[in-house]
């Protein structure tokens, strides 16, 4: 043994470096840099992820981030729960035009994207599946922006409400189409009928059970913020794993869990929900890792069609929002900003796209390329547009 046994081997082994911490640091610095020039921090987080990921300098790859999938699921779970919690069922009852707006903007965006994909030669069923994936707004971007800007007002509130609703629609539509795909390519009608029903109603039932449990626990704990915080983190983590174990949808379960918890909370046991600094770290990692994961190499092939898809999606959403702006009580100026605010596209879409292409290679590389390119493009553009929308609407807090 060398006399200098206490010195490390040189070079040190890269596996020992916790790369996620490096990514977190890079995201933090890039985020603050973006903030200095009055851009959203989210943009910095995404850029840091892209720069460190395989498409950039290649410092961080899947292997280096191994073991973080669980953490990311929790981050996604927290975001979906919080977003769901921001949906007020009473509002939808009192202003049914808002619900109509959400159906219309989702429906028109779906139709427009579907048409574009048909034009580039996709098979109808496959095009529909891709369109279902692409109609959803990115929940993490929207929620994070609203919170960081401490935004209040109709554009922000409706961004949140419409985002959770269009995510729910996208998921339901997607699972129905998947079942159809299954019938088309694999046969077996029982699975076709039963699987989407299991997914949808199973997820809702799980959400109902969880929210009843949550409220019972909160009744015991009382209204102390710190106690509620710990309780909710634990419950959300358990819910995410319960949804996975039961092979239900994490997206739908957690969204509905949040919404139902609020709807059932007759005694207002919930103090205002904030996952605070812990949540912040998870969300930054989520953005960084999702961005690192993007396959930017697909862009040259997919960019043109993806741009058409994004334009169609924007047109569909804008048309839907404008058509019902007046009856739903929104000025046209705010309607135009709201349309921009719904542009972000998300990790949820990424997950659905990957899952579809793994189970159904028939989707074909062309379609996957288009969808993934669109996600990559909107990963940068989306936060910028949504940020612009909130600030222009005058809904950001004065001192941030």
């Amino acid at each position: 043994m060398s006399e200098l046994f206490f010195l490390p081997n040189w070079p040190v082994q890269a596996e020992q470096i916790p790369w996620y911490a490096v990514l977190l640091l890079a995201a933090l610095l890039a985020g603050e840099a973006a903030w200095r020039v009055r851009l959203p921090r989210v943009l910095g987080w995404v850029l840091a992820g892209m720069a460190l990921g395989p498409s950039g300098f290649g410092i961080v790859d899947r292997a280096a981030l191994g073991g973080l999938d669980g953490l990311l699921e929790i981050a996604m779970g927290l975001i979906l729960f919080e977003l769901g919690q921001r949906v007020d069922m009473r509002w939808l009852r009192r202003n049914p035009w808002l619900l109509a707006t959400s159906l219309l903007e989702s429906g028109l965006a779906f139709a427009a994207i579907f048409a574009v994909l048909l034009l580039v030669g996709a098979k109808p069923l496959l095009a529909a599946t891709a369109a279902a994936i692409a109609l959803a707004t990115g929940p993490a971007v929207v929620l994070t922006l609203v919170k960081q800007l401490r935004a209040q007002g109709q554009v922000s509130e409706r961004m949140l409400a419409l985002t959770s609703l269009n995510n729910a629609y996208a998921f339901v539509l997607w699972s129905l189409l998947l079942a159809w795909l299954h019938a088309e390519y694999r046969g077996g009608w029982l699975a076709v009928a039963a699987h989407p029903l299991y997914l949808i109603f199973g997820s809702l039932a799980l959400a109902a059970v969880l929210s009843a449990l949550t409220l019972a626990l909160l009744a015991l704990l009382g209204r102390r913020t710190d106690a509620q915080f710990v309780c909710l983190i634990a419950l959300v983590v358990l819910s995410v794993s319960a949804a996975s174990m039961l092979k239900l949808s994490v997206v739908l379960s957690l969204l509905a869990y949040g919404t139902l918890t609020r709807a059932f909370d007759k005694d207002r046991r919930f103090v205002s929900l904030d996952f605070g600094r812990t949540g912040q770290i998870l969300v930054m990692l989520l953005f960084g890792i999702t961005a690192a994961d993007l396959e930017l190499s697909l862009l040259p092939a997919g960019a043109a069609t993806a741009a058409a898809l994004i334009a169609a999606r924007y047109a569909g959403k804008t048309l839907g929002i404008f058509a019902l702006a007046r009856p739903s009580g929104l000025s046209l100026r705010k309607a135009s900003l709201l349309s921009l605010g719904l542009m972000p596209m998300s990790g949820v879409a990424l997950i659905m796209a990957r899952e579809t292409s793994t189970s159904y290679p028939e989707l074909g590389p062309a379609l996957v390329t288009v969808v993934l390119s669109a996600i990559a493009m909107l990963e940068l553009l989306g936060p910028l547009l949504a940020h612009f929308a909130i600030v222009r609407a005058g809904e950001a807090a004065e001192e941030i």
């Binding site: 009473r90 509002w91 202003n95 609020r262 005694d267 739903s328 009580g329 000025s331 005058g394």
Partner: protein, 374 residues
């Protein structure tokens, strides 16, 4: 600047202005939504007026001119419902109460308009702390001299209005121990307090011209007095009330003011004297701090009694005038408030004692504003 001529008001007509809180339905904090809500409310015709106030979290509604309590209340309900119809579509809660129990003033945003911008530049953080909610009662006066008479003789009763309307025991998240903490925020302004003791309108005009000459004030709005003349309406304006939790109480307070004005103008029970102001600050503090249980030093008889007793004695004196004015229902509510149910501050403390949750309290305030809940 104009001459400050006093427009002739029809004697004993009255009207009400109410400043309201706009509430987030998720966590019951104040929310910024006045511009959105106003844009929506404008679309449909409604009685009265609905206007912006200094921050985006406030709204002001005002009635037209009335002679009877019942009509005033009916109109208040209609305006309330018009605001609620808009607010429901935007998911904004609306609540009465003199202050939001736990908002942080640093979160407030000044409503975009030149006057509010000016106030904000001049007063700095005081402007945002001015996110408090009051009721103003206007009483019509036939002349400037009568207005000044009514203003000074009404000053004796300022503590009544404070104690009866008090609805701001909680402020910035704590129980202030005051029934009305709101007025403490008003004291911070240099031009708050009371009007100068002058009896004739010409004297008042001269005073105003002097203040204007110094550049201290531009118009009457720059005075934040407890009672101030409003020459362009031909009224005096009682400004010490917290916005009550319900429109019913707001109308009752206005009826009390109207009946009191009639009593003072018809019976002229006390000779006008500056003595009223010797005990003014003391009585006012007692009313803010202890509500109906506060002490009252009577400037005319030099006796001390509880505010509750003084209001009950006044109600007896007003009975005949209330009959003349059809104000019986309004005064019955005041009497009930003094005898049994207590003011809104008491109701708020009872609710909080049960739930230990200020958001829950705000929620219930919003329910009661709707005319639901208890």
């Amino acid at each position: 600047m104009g001459e400050l001529t006093f427009m002739q008001g029809a004697a004993l007509t009255f009207g009400v202005e109410l400043e309201l809180q706009l509430i987030n339905t998720r966590d019951c904090d104040l929310t910024r939504g006045a511009s959105d809500l106003l844009a929506l409310v404008k679309r449909k015709p409604h009685p009265g007026e609905i206007k912006p106030e200094i921050t985006e979290s406030m709204l002001e509604l005002s009635t037209s001119i009335h002679t009877r309590h019942g009509e005033l209340l009916a109109e208040l309900r209609e305006i309330r419902d018009a605001v609620l119809a808009g607010a429901d579509r935007l998911n904004i809660g609306v609540a009465g109460g003199g202050a939001h129990p736990f908002q942080h003033w640093s979160e407030r945003k000044i409503f975009e308009n030149p006057r509010f911008k000016h106030i904000s530049d001049l007063y700095g953080y005081l402007a945002k702390q001015f996110t408090i909610f009051g009721q103003h009662v206007h009483i019509g006066c036939p002349s400037g001299d009568e207005a000044l008479y009514l203003l000074h003789s009404m000053s004796r009763y300022v503590p009544h209005f404070i104690a009866l309307s008090a609805a701001s025991p909680y402020y910035q998240g704590i129980d202030t121990a005051f029934d009305s903490s709101r007025l403490n925020s008003v004291f911070a302004f240099p031009l708050s307090g009371r009007a100068p003791f002058v009896r004739r309108w010409e004297e008042f005009q001269a005073y105003f011209a002097r203040m204007q000459g110094f550049g201290i004030v531009e118009d009457m709005k720059d005075f934040y007095w407890d009672i101030r003349p409003k020459p362009e309406y031909g009224t005096i304006e009682i400004r010490v009330c917290d916005t009550p939790v319900t429109v019913e109480r707001a109308a009752a307070l206005a009826a009390y003011a109207q009946a009191l004005a009639r009593y003072l103008l018809v019976e002229r029970p006390h000779p006008l004297s500056e003595d009223v102001y010797h005990v003014y600050s003391y009585n006012r503090f007692q009313a803010c701090r202890f509500g109906l249980g506060g002490e009252f030093a009577d400037p005319h008889t030099q006796e001390k009694r509880s505010l509750r007793e003084d209001i009950l004695a006044t109600l007896d004196a007003l009975a005949v005038h209330a009959r003349e004015l059809d104000a019986g229902e309004g005064l019955a509510d005041i009497s009930d408030c003094v005898r049994t149910s207590g003011n809104d501050a008491r109701w708020m403390r009872e609710i909080y004692a049960r739930s230990h949750s200020l958001p829950d309290l705000v929620w219930r305030q919003a329910e009661r504003w709707r005319g639901e809940g208890k």
